[in-house]
């Protein structure tokens, strides 16, 4: 009896070794970069960088981008993109603020802002899933529409009268929790960062261990195949854009609470930083690839660059140049990894 498989077929199969898969993990390299920047800055500025205060500031500053990057990662894994998140941030913040301003309690304002994000996401998702319009164009249109709605809804004012619910609303975005620390002292963490951590944990579990998470990767890998196996592709696409809208709304509401005001200019160009964070963390804009940890560490890197440049006394105007370099470097790294993978 002849075996159906030749020896050479078997020996040619090579499972990616544990070490190899670690090396091929882009998020790991970004983590190394983050660590190196931290060490370099800490050595150069021992008194100001490696302090609890600075840790509090950096983590708070990248939390908003990080929160939106959680939703964006899901969108990008399915092979889509959402350019409207910056505008949705502003729209949700303005709607929440207007509700508070007109005397509603904080939870009404928060709920209103979240619903706004979900509705915009549902509109994006429906146009993309049902009418098969390209995500880039749909969400580019929505970038404009949501910004305009935010301006109209705010009557082009900055809203800072939050009424009776204002205290809680401001605490949500601007508050902190304090963890016990080794020297009997406490480690303060901003509420925004805590929200980011909780969302990142939930999203990681969902992406890795649920069928919904697996379907995102399947849709991004081969949408036609996903459809043939009976996966509700259109419904999942709508859900993913709603998730992106929701994360943008959370970031907008928390930012308004932190700043103590809601401005219709909030979140401008944030979509670019969010996409940059996910791509630097290893997400592939062609779909099928991306991770929550990658988006998290990518967002951290972007803001760490800014912080370190300031600490080193570099003119802050150079900041975007470094962000751009890291984006291109990330794609280059991806290409090199693709080559070694054959």
């Amino acid at each position: 009896m002849s075996s159906s498989v030749e020896i050479s077929d078997v020996t040619r199969i090579r499972e990616q070794s544990w070490f190899g898969s670690i090396l091929a993990n882009q998020a790991l390299w970004v983590t190394v970069a983050v660590a190196l920047i931290c060490i370099a800055t800490a050595i150069d500025q021992p008194d100001s960088f490696a302090t609890k205060n600075n840790f509090y500031n950096i983590t708070r500053n990248f939390a908003a981008i990080g929160i939106i990057a959680m939703g964006m990662t899901a969108v990008i894994i399915t092979g889509g993109i959402d350019l409207s998140v910056g505008s949705v941030m502003a729209l949700s913040a303005i709607i929440a603020a207007r509700l508070l301003e007109s005397g509603f309690d904080w939870y009404v304002g928060v709920a209103g802002g979240l619903v706004a994000g979900l509705v915009v996401g549902a509109v994006n998702g429906s146009l993309i899933a049902h009418l098969k319009l390209p995500p880039f164009v749909v969400t580019l249109g929505m970038l404009s529409i949501a910004r305009s709605l935010a301006i109209v809804a705010s009557e082009n004012r900055v809203i800072y009268q939050f009424g009776d619910g204002g205290e809680t609303f401001k605490w949500l975005g601007g508050g902190r929790i304090e963890l016990p620390w080794i020297d009997g002292d406490v480690l303060p963490l901003s509420n925004m960062f805590v929200v980011l951590i909780v969302m990142a944990l939930i999203m990681s579990i969902v992406l890795k261990t649920t069928s919904w998470g697996r379907y995102l990767f399947a849709i991004g890998g081969n949408e036609q195949a996903a459809r043939l196996t009976g996966i509700p592709v259109d419904r999942i696409k709508i859900q993913v854009y709603m998730l992106a809208g929701l994360t943008a709304a959370i970031a907008g509401i928390l930012s308004a609470g932190y700043g103590g005001s809601a401005s219709n200019g909030m979140g401008k160009t944030y979509e670019l930083y969010v996409i940059a964070a996910t791509v630097i963390g290893g997400a592939n804009l062609m779909g099928g690839q991306g991770s929550i940890y990658g988006a998290f560490i990518g967002a951290a890197l972007i803001f760490l660059i800014r912080n370190s440049l300031i600490m080193f006394g570099v003119d802050a105007n150079w900041y975007d140049l470094f962000v751009g370099l890291f984006i291109i470097l990330a794609v280059l790294l991806e290409r090199l990894r693709g080559r070694t993978r054959g």
């Binding site: 159906s4 199969i13 990616q16 649920t210 697996r214 990767f217 996903a226 043939l228």
Partner: protein
């Protein structure tokens, strides 16, 4: 009784008549070779059986029961599995993930349901063992050879104890040695009593594994006969029209 019975199947796309009056039947454990030139209607017929679209006229019966498929999942529930020409695999997922795509094993924690990786890897391993394929459940499809990818697509059809497996050009895009592997896989499915429709351009493959050969020409069935009663020359004549029917 025939496991699959097609009577008077026709399909129009506007003014174009892709299929007319096709009658075919298939027994358990029978391998039918479906041949025909490009545009003869092979793919249309397969898509009708697979539930991608309904026929304009005619009936599909499984075990004598009339079926109406609205989408591929309906056909799958009736026991029809398809290995598509492009295999419909997700390169970025593992072999096991592809096999279970859309019907994952899950375990519940309260109202939450999580993927049951252990059971899926184990079942995928068993399926590959049944098919005597060395494919490993955890390997990414991206890293696999053409033959292994076929094994994944075929293993997927074994998940649900299917009655009928449709294979669309499974040997078209792989190397000669891998063709032998795939033909072996087809024989193994047949040995388990599964009826198979093999769509192929490759005469040697059809004559190697099929019991029956059916020939479509311009939307009509021009022959349906036992492989023992025909020859590659006759089938070629039927495909091109040099022989009108047989």
């Amino acid at each position: 009784m025939a496991v699959l019975e097609l009577t008077g199947i026709a399909k129009h796309f506007g003014a174009i008549e892709a299929l007319r009056g096709v009658d075919l039947s298939l027994e358990d454990g029978e391998v039918l070779g479906l041949m025909g030139d490009n545009g003869a209607g092979k793919s249309t017929l397969v898509k009708i059986i697979a539930g991608n679209f309904p026929p304009s006229a005619g009936q599909i019966r499984i075990d004598g029961e009339a079926m109406h498929f609205h989408k591929p999942v309906d056909a799958r529930e009736a026991g029809i599995e398809v290995v598509y020409q492009d295999l419909a695999l997700c390169d970025n997922l593992s072999a096991a993930a592809n096999i279970f795509l859309g019907r994952e094993f899950k375990r519940s924690f309260g109202f939450l349901r999580f993927l049951d990786f252990g059971r899926m890897y184990q079942r995928a391993g068993e399926l590959f063992e049944e098919l005597q394929s060395e494919t490993r459940p955890r390997d990414l499809v991206r890293q696999m050879s053409g033959g292994q990818r076929q094994a994944v697509a075929i293993a997927r059809t074994r998940l649900s104890e299917p009655r009928i497996v449709l294979m669309d050009e499974p040997t078209a895009a792989i190397s000669v040695r891998q063709v032998a592997q795939v033909l072996d896989l087809i024989r193994r499915l047949r040995d388990q009593g599964i009826a198979i429709i093999l769509i192929s351009h490759r005469m040697p493959d059809v004559f190697a594994v099929c019991d029956h050969v059916a020939v479509l020409r311009r939307g009509s069935l021009v022959a349906d006969k036992s492989v023992a009663d025909t020859s590659p020359e006759e089938v070629t004549g039927l495909i091109t029209g040099a022989i009108a029917s047989a």
